[in-house]
Amino acid sequence: MATVKFSKDHEWIRVENDEGVVGITDYAQTQLGDVVFVELPDVDRVLEAGSEAAVVESVKAASEVYAPVSGTVTAVNEDLDGDPSLVNSSAEDGGWFFRMTISDPSELDGLMDRDAYRGYVEGLD
């Protein structure tokens, strides 16, 4: 099973071979409400861990999505252009945002696993 890690900013990253697939968590999409637009990074953009990578917009709010680790963007989910509601219906699968290389795998250790993230979210409510 692929490794999935979570950030305190509510991003998830699924590690597939040398690359990571990044999106926002189901908890985050619930907090945002109906997603109406996603601004994705350009392919080949170099991201630092914690830097602003994308913007997700609902009717009343816009939130930055941060790179959970450092690396380079290799692909973006173009389906979100036509159907941003995928982020609501399938946040942790079909609603992924972008793929990136992982330049320093040790950065993954600073993220939470699913259980830790669940506990973190419960602490927020």
Partner: protein, 493 residues
């Protein structure tokens, strides 16, 4: 029989888009014959139709009259939008702005043929100087946010002239969104300052953040919670001690006009929304006008043009070479929102200094009256006295299943425009009520009665009724998600 698809019901009128009313052959303006002359368009003549609809004058008048009936307005009832100052708009201003020799003046006719207009601009500035207690007013900004940007540019220009542009501006977290946006547009980083438990800027937190990289602080006073920043003199002193400037967002000047001069509070720079405090019409979202009052240190940097007295007459100084100092360039075409100056000056001259003072007193009295009547049933966020507006949060709705939005929509069904909702962001589910001095006690009592009855009904467990509201409107709740996901921003055939 009425066909239901036409939608009209008595005085509830449906109206298609004007493009759907196109009638080939119809025209709403008669024009004279076109004299013979060769085409001098250099081969650039339009080569296809534009696609504009054709209508007669009666059909156009009917179209817009029917549309107008789908709007709520201050003319139709109380409009207690907090921070927007929806007061009565006197019609005298409309008449005067249309006088021959004012409304039809061209901005570039010779100064010698526009002496009355230049005198009028300076007279308007003169009232604003007296009311703010500040020595200069830049008249050209077109609206409040434009004034903010201009004021910050003056601050930055003054700092640059000292060789010290600085890097950031401090903005309280309760500020209008325009404040951080304006600071950013002026090239400054924005740092937020938290509020204390009384709903005011935390003086200690502000002082902690002050250092020689801070260009200035943007204060709204009274602030967006409707409270006067009691520590304003101490704040100003602290900012000045670090060499920074104090910008004041003048959106809420209606609480102070004629009673307190910002210049006496240590403020260096403040915009005035003529379309709020000085009763010029909001027009469904403009035009506004945002003159900026400036301290003596900032005045030399005021944007062009300046109106100057020269011997016996007035003159427009439109270029840096024509004035002393180091003015900003232009922030707008021509000389500012002249038509708005006419209306604002007529308002000030009608009320006089004594009447303007009464405006502030009555606005503050009315807000405190509503606070007294409503607190207890609704939940006031902070204890009074408030200034010209009173802030409630949604604690009184907790557990009822009714949200601030639902509550506002139920007010619409009762025939009243809602207060400002969900702003300021510093309290949960904010309801910000600004009655203004225009309303009678009877109207305030009816408004208070309505709010109390709605609060009772929410507590009685009638959430479903609230969620259905409004039902007595041209349209019920509209799908904003759909509008944003698949934007349709124009008609297409």
């Amino acid at each position: 029989m009425i066909r239901p698809e036409e939608g009209n019901r008595g005085l509830r009128l449906e109206e298609p888009l004007i493009f759907e009313l196109d009638t080939p052959g119809a025209v709403g303006v008669d024009l004279p014959d076109i004299p013979d002359a060769p085409d001098r368009l250099g081969g650039l003549a339009r080569n296809g139709p534009i696609g504009l609809p054709r209508l007669s004058e009666p059909r156009v008048v009917r179209h817009y009259t029917r549309l107008s009936r789908m709007n709520y307005a201050i003319d139709s009832g109380i409009y207690p939008l907090g921070s927007c100052t929806m007061k009565h708009n006197p019609r005298l201003g409309e008449r005067l702005a249309r006088l021959p020799g004012l409304g039809d003046l061209h901005p570039l006719q010779p100064d010698s043929t526009a002496q009355g207009a230049l005198d009028l601009i300076d007279a308007c500035a003169d009232w604003l100087r007296a009311l703010t207690g500040m020595p200069a007013v830049a008249m050209s900004p077109a609206a409040g946010a434009h004034g903010e940007l201009t004021g910050l540019m003056c601050i930055r220009a003054a700092l640059e002239a000292r060789g010290d542009a600085r890097a950031k501006v401090l903005v309280p977290e309760s500020a209008h969104g325009t404040n951080p946006a304006s600071a950013r547009a002026c090239g400054y980083a924005v740092e937020s300052v938290p509020a204390d438990s009384s709903g005011r800027v935390d003086l200690a937190a502000l002082t902690d953040r002050l250092d020689p990289t801070v260009a200035g602080v943007m204060i709204t006073n009274p602030n967006t919670c409707g409270l006067f920043e009691r520590d304003i003199l101490e704040m100003a002193q602290a900012v000045h001690a670090e060499g920074g400037f104090v910008y004041c967002d003048g959106a809420n000047f209606n609480a102070l006009v004629g009673r307190v001069r910002p210049g006496d509070l240590g403020i260096d720079c403040m915009h005035l929304n003529l379309h709020k405090t000085f009763a010029t019409p909001h027009g469904g979202g403009g035009p506004g006008s945002g003159p900026v009052a400036l301290s003596a240190d900032l005045a030399p940097f005021a944007p062009l043009p300046w109106v100057l007295r020269d011997g016996g007459g007035w003159r427009l100084a439109e270029h840096a070479s024509a004035v002393g100092g180091s003015p900003l360039g232009r922030v707008k075409g021509f000389h500012g929102q002249f038509g708005v100056f006419v209306r604002a000056l007529a308002y000030m001259a009608s009320l006089g200094g004594d009447g303007l003072r009464k405006v502030a007193e009555d606005a503050v009295l009315s807000a405190n009256y509503l606070l007294a009547r409503l607190d207890g049933t609704m939940t006031a966020s902070f204890p009074g006295p408030c200034m010209h507006e009173c802030l409630f949060d949604d604690r009184f709705l907790r557990g009822t299943g009714v949200t601030t939005l639902d509550f506002a929509k139920a007010m619409i069904d009762a025939g009243v425009h809602p207060m400002t909702m969900y702003f300021p962001l510093v309290v949960h589910g904010a309801l910000l009520v600004e009655p203004t001095e225009s309303e009678s006690k009877e109207t305030l009592d009816r408004f208070a009665g309505l709010m109390l009855r709605l609060a009772e009904r929410a507590r009685a467990g009638d959430a479903a009724w609230f969620r259905e509201a409004p039902v007595h409107t041209p349209r019920r709740r509209l799908d904003e998600t759909r509008a944003a996901r698949q934007p349709v921003l124009r008609w297409t055939p």
